[in-house]
Amino acid sequence: MYDFTGILPELALAAGSLLLLLLAVAPGGRRAGAAAATAALTLAAALALLPAAAHAGHGAVLGGMVVLDGFGTFFRAVLIGAALVVVLTGARYVAARGLAAPEFYALLLMAVAGADFMAVAGDVISFYVGLETLSLASYGLAGFLAGERFSMEAALKYFLNGAVASALLLFGLSLVFGLAGTTSLAGIAAALAGGAWGGAAGTVPAVALVFVLAGLGFKVAAAPFHLWAPDVYEGAPTPVTAFLSLVSKGAALAAIVRVVAVGLGPLHADWQLALAVLSALTMTVGNVSALWQKNVKRLLAYSSVAHAGYVLAGIAVGTALGLQAVLFYILAYLFMNLGAFGVVMALSGQGEGETLEDLAGLARRSPWLAALLALFALSLLGLPWTAGFMGKLLLFQATVSSHMTWLALFIAVNTGISAYYYFLLIRQMYLRPAKSAAPVRADAWLAAGLAVAAAGVLLLGIFPQSFLEWSQLAAFMPLP
């Protein structure tokens, strides 16, 4: 009999999701508050079960489907934590915009369970099932503003792009299975290292790698596979946008490490170059496209495309140092992006627009919200004393020490480009007159979420030491 202790958090999430579905049809169970509380408690329980699950074993468990290691535990904590904050901060938005709350949270919990399996996958099968669980739930979530054209468009675009991405990924994985004869990621790495089908020098492994990277590139919204991201991020309900940019992207980045850097590890000369080019392209396209945006959600969408580019640089390096930088950057990105979307949620939660015009004069209307958004923008830019700065510093260190100085130069130049639009946000809030004097209010949960995000940004920026040790531990995993 299998020991299921290792996946207790995910079992809790699935159970919570089913409970919410029953709650949805129970008499009087359709109140948004009750559903939000159930979802938040489920996520908190999953987080509480995580230490027990992490200590349930080391290495492959459950027939090799799941790998328990520091890397997986780190990502599960990040993914579940991010989802918890999204649920708490988005509760007012969901209630105010009249979304079908129980179904919304049921899909969200299911998506987190899928994301977790991507982060701990030890097998192509568990990785793919996790990916589809996450994706199918996300398609639904993107279209949750029923009757709103942009939301419908977002769901449809996301679904069509996602389906194509899945097809590409599956085709690549089928080639990998064909040449390795196993679906276990460790087994694939061993077969490739043993020279199956020409090993690292073979044509078929290279073709498979291209398809797998294209499929996963869609999921992290890496250029040139990012075209769906701005439309989906703009049209989706704001809590879902935050969720997609954190959980969906984080899980896909973890999966790139699991499937490409470990499973296809012996091909590292190929994927290193491919990921480096993808990374340079992604950060440049993301930052340059963000310059023209008028909608804040769209601007943040392009900004998150660019940030995925930075993270890919760390994966491309392929060393323990690079992986450590990746983990630190994802943690930093979690706090600053959560914060930035939180402020947008405060605006759109009370029915205001989401364009740069609507931000004008926010400093006079709500000085606290404006100060927080300024802090998050500066961190996204990567100014010293913020989390973003430490993250970029580590990426620099990793790329330069692996003689990929050109990639470090790309990061530096792109930081310069991004300064324009991050300062544009700040200029709108502080130097433009407000159209109305009415203050923008954040409810208690949203305020708490923003406080946590701000504390995270400052802590990671000013006292990075303890977090560095944590990400160092998590990076300890078999890299080629």
């Binding site: 009999m1 089913l18 029953l22 049809v25 044509t203 290279a206 190929d270």
Partner: protein, 118 residues
């Protein structure tokens, strides 16, 4: 770089193969157009009306629920085949969990009046 040359050859071959086949058959074959050949079922029922009619959205959800239970039945077959080789109590428990999850879906659909045909 020979690796990437292979890749280009692979791509070119992939595009050329269908194109050449279609064009070649176009050149070689004889052409006797006949309205009867354009019909959906050449030797079947004569079609009535347009295929592009609007289905009731209800039909879609109904079919979806059917599909879920169809696939459930499919998954229970391999389970039943190896049942005797497994620990019966555990195997039974696992199947019950699996079916219970689908039952939650059925209850949800039922209460949402998916099963009532309007």
């Amino acid at each position: 770089m020979p690796l990437y040359v292979d890749l280009v050859v692979f791509l070119l071959a992939g595009f050329t193969f269908p194109l050449v086949n279609v064009l070649l058959s176009k050149l070689v074959r004889r052409d006797y157009p006949d309205p009867l050949k354009e019909v959906s079922y050449e030797s079947g029922i004569v079609p009535i009306g347009d295929a592009r009619v609007r289905y009731h959205i209800h039909y879609y959800i109904f079919a979806l629920v059917f599909l879920v239970f169809d696939v459930e039945g499919l998954f229970l077959f391999p389970w039943a085949v190896v049942f005797k080789q497994l620990n019966p109590a555990v195997a039974f428990g696992e199947a019950v969990v699996f079916i219970a999850m689908l039952v939650v879906g059925l209850v949800y659909a039922w209460k949402k009046k998916v099963l009532t045909w309007i």
